[in-house]
């Protein structure tokens, strides 16, 4: 495998050449990927909001946002600005500390989890050993924030919504983790980079979705439930609970929930594309193509092309999944709370356990195809 582009090395090299000491150059580099990631996450949210509104409009034979910018692309920005300028209300009987802390606790872990999403061989914030496990761990903090905001709102709908959200994410964490475990078993590593590398080499045929179709479905259902997307949006079911734990929130605090939900959706889609759809891999193996055309792997233009194609492919796959989620939103009716827990505990959990056992057996039987 080629090392690809070493952005960190070249950045520090450039700064040292300009006369900065090594330490300061490194310190200047440190926040850069993080800031870029946060900006990327927020822009991703804006795109997702626009996409959701446009796709929903198309599915319902409407036009959708149209006047703010060409094709309404500035509509999410307008929405965000509106929320920024709205009055920040803390209800009279609410607990002000928990009320403020709740939304932050929902958003921060989700943004933190972005550090493990790779967009290319070297294009991620950090290649952690625990990789995908960190994402699972961080997403389990969110229920605390939901419970906190549900409790502190001092509203029965909020409390019920918070309790439902917590119950839902606890029940769906387990099938999610088991589906990830099957993938991890095949690639012998929790690192997202290794998981993508293990799928590379055969183009679209090498992707994990062919080896783990059941796992893919389980993961996607569980991810939708974790994001509280429509078939599983019981915590904020507007017909029963007004808006669940968000009922009492307004202005920026509400915006945090809103942004958190969409960042989580994009993040889940990115993780699915990393785990099952080959991450930054092009459907046709690029290095083989380069080999046929007699282009060296270390050619600069090829490396730039691979890197940009990698980013485009990852984002494209993720947004394809977001599109699927929006389509599902207008197709599948909401489940009841008992059906939701039934689906999680009595269907997804056994099926994912069987999937895990099957993967282990297949790995022992065909070490070539299922990772040695």
């Amino acid at each position: 495998m080629n090392s690809g582009i070493d952005l960190q090395g070249s950045f520090i090299q450039t700064l040292t050449d300009l006369g900065f000491p090594q330490d300061i150059a490194y310190a200047l580099w440190l926040p850069l990927p993080i800031v870029l990631m946060v900006i990327g996450a927020v822009v991703g949210v804006l795109v997702t909001v626009w996409l959701e509104r446009k796709v929903s409009a198309a599915a319902q034979q409407r036009i959708g946002p149209e006047y703010a910018g060409p094709l309404g692309v500035l509509q999410p920005v307008a929405d965000g600005l509106k929320l920024v300028f709205k009055e920040d209300i803390v209800t009279n009987q609410a607990d002000p500390w928990l009320f403020t802390l709740g939304p932050a606790l929902v958003v921060i872990p989700v943004i933190l989890a972005y550090i493990i999403v790779p967009f290319g061989q070297n294009l991620l914030v950090t290649d952690l050993n625990v990789g995908i496990f960190l994402w699972i761990a961080l997403s389990s903090i969110a229920p605390i924030g939901l419970l906190m905001s549900g409790y502190s709102s001092n509203n029965k709908y909020s409390l019920l919504g918070g309790l439902r959200a917590a119950a839902q994410s606890i029940s769906y964490e387990i099938p999610l983790a088991l589906a990830v475990l099957a993938i991890v078993m095949m690639s012998n590593s929790l690192s997202t980079i290794d998981i993508v590398q293990q799928q590379s080499g055969y183009g679209i045929l090498g992707w994990n979705i062919w080896r783990q179709p059941v796992g893919f479905v389980i993961f996607w259902i569980a991810a939708l439930a974790e994001c509280e997307r429509l078939p599983f949006d019981l915590p904020e079911a507007e017909e029963e609970l007004v808006a669940g734990y968000q009922t009492e929130y307004a202005g920026m605090r509400f915006a945090l929930f809103y942004v958190g939900a969409y960042i989580n959706l994009v993040l889940s889609a990115l993780v699915v594309s990393v785990l099952y759809l080959g991450g930054w891999e092009f459907p046709i193996p690029l290095d083989r193509l380069a080999g046929w055309l007699n282009v060296s792997e270390t050619t600069p233009w090829l490396q730039v092309l691979t890197a940009s194609l990698g980013i485009i492919m990852t984002v494209l796959k993720a947004y394809l999944l977001v599109f699927l989620a929006v389509l599902l939103r207008w197709t599948v009716p909401r489940v009841r709370i008992d059906q939701l827990l039934d689906l999680g505990w009595k269907f997804l959990l056994p099926v994912s356990l069987v999937n895990l056992l099957l993967t282990a057996a297949l790995k022992l039987a065909f070490p070539f195809a299922f990772g040695g």
Partner: protein, 206 residues
């Protein structure tokens, strides 16, 4: 043991069935995405109300004979007819002072228009009755006498025909060619084609 396997098989079958139905649903949703939006972009585009449209009621004060039929046929006796008996010379006549209908309460059923003996009540095509105060909806005889502004004449508005008034095979109300007529015969065509009914033919029929 065998029963357990049967149960598992049934469950798997049900799962596959459910997945199939979800797939069908998704394909339906996807199919809808390619369909033309039916949006009428309201303040800029408006539908032309059909000719039987029951909008705000128009009232001609001078034609009214204060018979109060409209009040009697109204489901809630809504129109208010304020008249008094006056002597004009030797004759006692009704003198109409005020007439009003509260459109905040009116259900636009059209009974008053139907039964008015002098046709002083009629339906208009006006439907934009929004006000800031519900009492502003209580129209007196002056307000009732105003004619609505037709959608066709408003330079700010693109008038759009309703689906039933589009030519045959056309579903897009935008940019219709000029003079295009709706599907089917127009009332005057039907009247022109109909055989002239003489007294003789009517007798023969009966």
């Amino acid at each position: 043991m065998f029963k357990f396997l049967q149960q598992v098989g049934d469950y798997a079958k049900g799962t596959v069935e459910a997945a199939k139905y979800i797939g069908q649903g998704l394909s339906v949703t996807f199919d809808h995405m390619q369909r033309r939006p039916i949006t009428v972009q309201y303040p800029y585009e408006k539908l032309i109300p059909s000719e039987r449209y029951r909008g705000r009621i128009h009232y001609e004060f001078d034609k009214c004979i204060a018979c109060e039929v409209c009040v009697r046929v109204c489901p809630i006796n809504l129109p208010i007819v304020d008249w008094e008996m006056v002597k004009v010379g030797k004759k006692k006549t009704k003198k109409l002072n005020h007439y009003s209908i509260d459109f905040g309460v009116c259900i636009f059923c059209g009974n008053c228009v139907e039964y008015c003996p002098t046709n002083c009540l009629s339906m208009t095509e006006e439907y934009e009755l929004a006000t800031y105060d519900r009492h502003e909806l209580n129209y007196d005889n002056v307000a009732l006498g105003r004619l609505p502004y037709s959608v066709n004449q408003d330079p700010m508005v693109t008038p759009l025909r309703e689906f039933a008034y589009l030519p045959k095979g056309v579903v897009e109300p935008h940019d219709l060619p000029k003079g295009s007529q709706r599907a089917g015969q127009r009332p005057e065509d039907i009247a022109a084609k109909a055989p002239v009914k003489t007294k003789k033919s009517a007798k023969a029929e009966s």
